[in-house]
Amino acid sequence: MTDQFEPTIIGFTCNWCSYRAADLAGTARIKYPPNVRLIRLMCSGRLDPTFVFKALASGADGVMITGCHPGECHYIEQNYKALRRFHLMRRTLQGFGLEPTRVRLVWASAAEGAKFASEVASFVEEIRSLGPLHWGKNNGKDDVQSPTQQSKPEIAEVPA
C-alpha cells in the first residue's frame, strides 16, 4: 500500500436491495476500494443515528447508508424514514463541527451492482480528501493544548 491516507468506512445496507447490490457487484467482479466494511440491516429504516455516531466515534472516517430506491422499499415506505433521519443527522453533524459529507446516503436496487461499486469508490475518494476524523478538533481533544498553558490562545477564526 502507498502511504496515502486510507480511510475506514462503515457501510449499512438493507437486506433486500443494497446488500444484494453488493452481492451483484461481487458476482459481476466489479472492483472497488477495500475501505468499506458493511453491516447488514433488514431495512434502511432500522438505521439508528446512534449507529452512525458510534461508528464515527469509534474510529470510522465516514459512514455510508444504503437502501432501496424511494418507492421500492421492501417494507413499502420505511426507506423514507431513513431519508428523513439522514437529513436531520447531517444538520446535527454540522453542529458538531464535523463535515456532514462524512455521512452519505445511497439508493441502490438489487440490480445496481455497478452503481454500488462506483458509489463506494467515489465516497472513499471524498473521505480521503477530507482526511481522517480529527479527534483533536472534533472529539477527545487530548492532543489539544489547554488554553491556560499558554499566554495567548491563537485563534484562527472564531466561528459565530
Binding site: T50, K81, R84, T92, N138, G140, I155
Partner: protein, 332 residues
C-alpha cells in the same frame, strides 16, 4: 459495620452551579435524617470542609459520596480521583456529573475559543490581549490558578462510577427517596441496586408522566415556543414545539410541559440508551410528514439549532462529543 459507628457521608461539587446543593437543602426536614444516620465528613456547602482530612482518611472509608459537577479543570479531576479512592459508593449526582449538563456545550468549541471569547467581550478592556495564566509571576512571587481542561468531562470519563442520579437538579422528592433507600439498606431492610444503575429516576421517559393528550404524531412544521399560542392540553410536540420529553428519562413529574414549556432534557437519556441526541434525531425525523428531500429540509429549517436542541445537557456524555474518544473509555 458496627452499629455504634455511623457510616460516613460526603457530598462534593466540581464544576457545577450549586443547584444540586440547593435541591438537597430543599428536602428540608429530611436533612436531619441524613444527619442522624450519617457522619457527614465532607460537605462544603453546609459543613466545615476538611480537604486535608479527606486525604488523611483510609481508602474506602466514606460509605457514600454524592458527586455533582462536571470535570472542567485539573483540580476537579484530581479531587474526583481522590473521592473515588476514599468512597465505597460514588454517585454521579445531577446532570453535570452524569452527562456534562449545560457547561458541556463548551465541547462544541475549541476550548481556546472559550478563553478568547471571554476576554474579548464588548465591555472587556483588553487592548494588550491579556489572558489568565496557570502560573504567573507577580512582583512578590509566583501565583497559580488551575488549568482548564481542553474538554469538559463527565465523572465516569475520569473515574469508575457506582450509581447515576440524573436531573438538573435532581428533584428533591427523588433525593429524599434515595436517602430513604440508603437508610433502609443500612437497616438491612433493602438491597442496593446493581452497580451502574440509575437511581432516583423513572425507567420510562417524561411522556410517561406528562398529562397532555397525545395522538399519532406527524410533524408538518417545527414551531418556536414563543411563536404560537399552544393548546394547553395537547402534546407540545404534536403542536410542532420540539419537546425533548419523548427521549428524556422520567422522574421529574413532567414539570416543564405541565408549565407550558417544552422539556429540555435535563434528566438525560432513558435506560440503556447510548446516545441521547440520536434518539431525538431518529424519533423527530421519523414523524416528519414528508418524503420529499426539499420539503424535509424546509421543515427542518424550523429547528434552528438541532445540535443544541438534541445535546443541550448530554453533549459531554454523547458519542461524538464525549470528553474521551469512544475507544479510550476505560472498560470495566
Amino acid at each position: 459495620m458496627t452499629p455504634n459507628a455511623k457510616p460516613k457521608f460526603a457530598m462534593y461539587w466540581a464544576a457545577s452551579c450549586g443547584g444540586c446543593e440547593i435541591a438537597v437543602l430543599n428536602i428540608h426536614e429530611k436533612i436531619l435524617e441524613v444527619d442522624a444516620n450519617f457522619d457527614i465528613v465532607f460537605w462544603p456547602v453546609a459543613m466545615d470542609a476538611k480537604y486535608k482530612d479527606v486525604e488523611a482518611m483510609e481508602d474506602g472509608s466514606i460509605l457514600l459520596t454524592l458527586f455533582n459537577g462536571g470535570i472542567r479543570n485539573d483540580e476537579n479531576e484530581h479531587i474526583a480521583k481522590l473521592l473515588r479512592r476514599k468512597s465505597k459508593i460514588l454517585v454521579a449526582f445531577g446532570s453535570c456529573a452524569n452527562e456534562g449538563c449545560i457547561p458541556g456545550l463548551a465541547n462544541l468549541s475549541d476550548s481556546r475559543e472559550l478563553v478568547y471569547t471571554a476576554y474579548n467581550t464588548i465591555t472587556t478592556d483588553n487592548p494588550h490581549q491579556i489572558y489568565p495564566m496557570t502560573s504567573y509571576d507577580v512582583p512578590e512571587g509566583e501565583i497559580h490558578i488551575p488549568t482548564i481542561l481542553p474538554v469538559l468531562k463527565t465523572l465516569n470519563q475520569v473515574v469508575d462510577v457506582d450509581y447515576y442520579m440524573p436531573g438538573c437538579p435532581p428533584e428533591s422528592k427523588q433525593i429524599a427517596a434515595v436517602i430513604d433507600l440508603v437508610i433502609s439498606v443500612l437497616e438491612g431492610k433493602a438491597e442496593l441496586p446493581p452497580k451502574g444503575s440509575v437511581i432516583g429516576a423513572g425507567n420510562s421517559t417524561v411522556c410517561d408522566e406528562c398529562k397532555r393528550i397525545r395522538n399519532i404524531k406527524s410533524i408538518k412544521s417545527f414551531e418556536r415556543i414563543w411563536g404560537i399560542a399552544p393548546d394547553s392540553s395537547l402534546c407540545l410536540l404534536e403542536q410542532g414545539i420540539p419537546c425533548n420529553g419523548p427521549a428524556t428519562r422520567s422522574g421529574c413529574d413532567a414539570r416543564c410541559p405541565a408549565a407550558g414549556a417544552q422539556c429540555i432534557g435535563c434528566y438525560g437519556p432513558a435506560e440503556d440508551v447510548e446516545d441521547y441526541g440520536a434518539r431525538l434525531i431518529s424519533s423527530f425525523a421519523s414523524v416528519i410528514d414528508s418524503n420529499d428531500p426539499e420539503e424535509i429540509d424546509k421543515i427542518l429549517d424550523g429547528l434552528v439549532d438541532p445540535t443544541g436542541q438534541f445535546y443541550r445537557f448530554n453533549l459531554a456524555g454523547s458519542l461524538l462529543k464525549a470528553g474521551v474518544p469512544a475507544w479510550k473509555k476505560e472498560k470495566a
